[in-house]
Symmetry: C2
Subunit: 151 residues, 2 copies
DNA sequence: CTTAATCTCTATAGAGATGATAGGGATATG
DNA sequence: CATATCCCTATCATCTCTATAGAGATTAAG
């Protein structure tokens, strides 16, 4: 199961990316719409900003907008920010490889071999599907916000 | 990342299933071979027994043997015993379905839709690959123990 | 300049999961 | 009876998750 944090982050991103005209969305508005505890959401949005995904404006009329276009942000990328490596075993992570301390022979490890298959299958989905893809297939929201950064 | 518990369980199962002639393996032997804390492993083997996967014998000459043949035990089944539902969202679990409390419209939820793809991909691997499959592909152990229950 | 709205940052805390460790009880063998 | 093994329960330290809280920084409006 994914964490609430990651789920909230994805909800928030979908909302911000879907915002017409690329207008800023406030954390309060997102929290109200999606029933996310406001102060918890603030932390999450801050993480997304630090990750270079969102841009923020402070003060009155402040809020959040996409920094990078929604079609460049995959579900996998967002998950990794909040959950760490997606790999089921440390020895299968590309970005965060660690040897299993107690593993005798990685190349012959049956467990590693089997999980590699499973991981590869889900990784290919998570690392290819973007926020924009998800919105594009949404029946209630046919118009996808992609790159609407103010020029 | 999967838990140590699940990893230990899989290691133990692979060892027991690979045992020539279906001889019993003791928890001490498994713990020594695979560097698993012995008392921790005992709990795990007990869980596997309660799940109907292993059979045990007490006393001298005791140990564990497979109850069900190794080609009927999938990685997914073992994982579920120790990690609970494999689904990334409660609303995607078949056996343990729960509605996301804060979800407005499950059918239209973009997050659910995307994770369904990813989950389906990994589930198909985990629920089809068995302990016997894993051993069969192991270069160091070409002879697979399948159904060796004493008649 | 003041006020209000918003983002920013850090601290704290309860609940539960994780990963063991420990001790003894039950059972089988010889 | 002695020994080896499985069986069962309790306990514990650590970490993570899920917040909650409060104050500071920034901006816009009046």
């Amino acid at each position: 199961m994914i964490s609430n944090k990651a789920k909230y982050a994805l909800r928030a991103l979908l909302a911000i990316a879907a915002q017409h005209g690329g207008e800023a969305l406030t954390s309060i508005e997102i929290a109200k719409r999606h029933r996310i505890p406001h102060k918890f959401l603030e932390q999450i949005l801050l993480d997304l900003k630090k990750a270079g995904i969102l841009e923020s404006r402070r003060g009155k009329l402040g809020g959040y907008v996409m920094l990078r276009p929604a079609d460049t942000i995959t579900f996998g990328e967002v998950l990794r920010i909040f959950e760490g490596p997606l790999a089921p075993l440390p020895c299968l992570s590309r970005n965060a490889y660690r040897r299993c301390e107690d593993c005798e022979n990685e190349a012959r490890c049956e467990i590693r071999r089997e999980f590699a298959r499973s991981y590869e299958a889900s990784r290919q989905v998570l690392d290819s599907r973007t926020i924009a893809d998800a919105l594009a297939e949404s029946p209630a929201m046919p118009f996808v916000a992609q790159d609407r950064r103010a020029g």
